[in-house]
């Protein structure tokens, strides 16, 4: 409990200069309670280079982006460098964010994922870089064929459907890039157990996505 309070106390110190406390809190609360607010910030940055929206987005997401980088193994200083690189991309590329094909937090996730890859490789031409792996803007044709994230709502909030043991394995894939056999060694469990946990996790996620899809389809059908 004390640790929790400590963390809250620290977080309230995270207030970039030159802005009032009230707007800082507003950004944070909205980010948690209403993820759509993040979409609005991104849209405003994309459409009109809205500086206040950028400040709000920075405040609402920077501490999580930093935490994500650190969970991937970055030092605090490296994590801040990565965070800064990401925020520069947010400013430059916000116009490519399409709310209909995914949520703002997923868009930010793809940026921190990509920047993390590139940070170590700036100077090496023959290595694989993130823009080889993911086109800056997906092809329109392919976009049209992907039905998965209708309205950007599908498949969100999937994590909470996973039991702890499955979550743990998923984290090891996302944060540590561990292979199945490495995860098995880490957790001192048989390889088969890890494989089946991941398989179950993926099955579960697929079902959640499908369930959300079918609800969407029902809602859409009722509207027409």
């Amino acid at each position: 409990m004390n640790a929790l309070l400590d963390k809250k106390a620290k977080v309230s110190l995270v207030k970039p200069r030159g802005t009032s406390a009230s707007s800082s809190n507003k950004g944070r609360v909205l980010a948690q309670k209403e993820p759509n607010e993040l979409n609005q910030f991104l849209i405003r940055i994309g459409e009109s280079k809205d500086r206040q929206a950028f400040v709000d987005l920075f405040k609402a997401t920077s501490s999580r982006l930093k935490a994500f980088a650190m969970q991937c193994g970055a030092s605090s200083a490296d994590a801040e460098e990565l965070l800064q690189e990401c925020m520069i991309i947010v400013w430059r590329k916000a116009h490519t964010f399409k709310p209909e094909s995914g949520s703002a937090i997923t868009w930010l996730y793809t940026i921190v994922r990509n920047k993390r890859i590139d940070m170590a490789r700036k100077s090496r031409h023959e290595t694989v870089q993130s823009d080889d792996l993911w086109a800056e803007e997906g092809s329109e044709e392919l976009e049209a064929q992907i039905s998965g994230e209708m309205e950007g709502k599908t498949a969100r909030g999937m994590l909470k459907h996973l039991p702890e043991v499955q979550k743990q394995v998923v984290f090891k894939v996302y944060f540590e890039g561990k292979s199945h056999s490495e995860i098995a060694a880490d957790l001192d469990l048989p390889l088969g157990t890890i494989k089946s946990r991941l398989r179950l996790a993926m099955k579960k996620l697929e079902n959640v996505a499908k369930e959300q899809m079918s609800w969407l389809i029902i809602i859409l059908m009722m509207n027409f």
Binding site: F58, K66, W91, I105, W107, V173
Partner: protein
């Protein structure tokens, strides 16, 4: 449309940004032309979004926002010259999948193919990757490879034409996994040369699973 796909484990690692290597390029080539896999990657990216969303918060230096503005302003001043460059380099060579364009610098015909037989030729691709060796193979239309097995794991992506072995036919975009247990005798279809991208375990460089590229922070 492709009938053979990367498995979910690979797609998840790819979406997690943990396949930043030759195998990742191959998955990217497949995903770009396969709506089914693209949708799965989307879902795994959403899961990534969830993971980011639930990250506990870390205190960020007070000065970072101001420093970021300073960098943005510097960028805005230099903007014009950069962006036009980036675009121009990538527009050409439509028959090479986009993820490979930095590594396959010419059209297939102009590459420096070599091989002891005219029926099967290869080109090594120069990708700096500790874990994998990457090659293009070209099987002449209608010709058959000798029966063979594989050392270690080998991933193959059909980039042009098609080939078949005794059980299946593989077309453009298909993603195939072969290992020690695969024994086959592929034959290119009669109508066109078949060009495949192959990624296999690099010999003599055992650096642990994805090698040290895994964690770019271990510099």
């Amino acid at each position: 449309m492709a009938n053979y796909h990367p498995n979910d484990e690979l797609l998840m690692s790819f979406a997690a940004g943990q396949l930043a290597d030759a195998l990742g390029l191959m998955v990217a080539c497949h995903v770009e032309s396969c709506p089914k896999c693209a949708e799965k990657v989307r879902n795994f990216e959403s899961l990534g979004g969830d993971i980011l969303n639930q990250c506990s918060e870390e205190v960020v230096s007070d000065s970072l926002l101001d420093e970021t503005w300073a960098k943005i302003e510097m960028f805005e001043r230099n903007k014009v010259s950069q962006e036009s460059f980036e675009k121009a380099a990538n527009e050409k060579r439509v028959n090479i999948p986009r993820p490979m364009r930095r590594f396959i610098k010419e059209d297939f015909d102009q590459l420096d193919w070599s091989g002891f037989s005219k029926n099967i030729q290869e080109v090594n691709l120069n990708i700096d990757d500790e874990r994998y060796t990457t090659k293009l193979y070209r099987i002449k239309a209608g010709s058959k490879l000798p029966e063979h097995t594989h050392k270690g794991t080998e991933y193959t992506l059909v980039m042009q034409g098609s080939f078949s072995d005794k059980s299946c036919k593989y077309n453009q975009g298909d993603f195939i996994l072969a290992d020690e247990n695969t024994k086959h005798q592929p034959q290119a279809s009669a109508d066109a040369d078949c060009i495949c991208l192959a990624v296999m375990d690099a010999p003599l460089k055992m650096t642990g699973f994805f090698g040290r590229m895994l964690n770019p922070f271990l510099r």
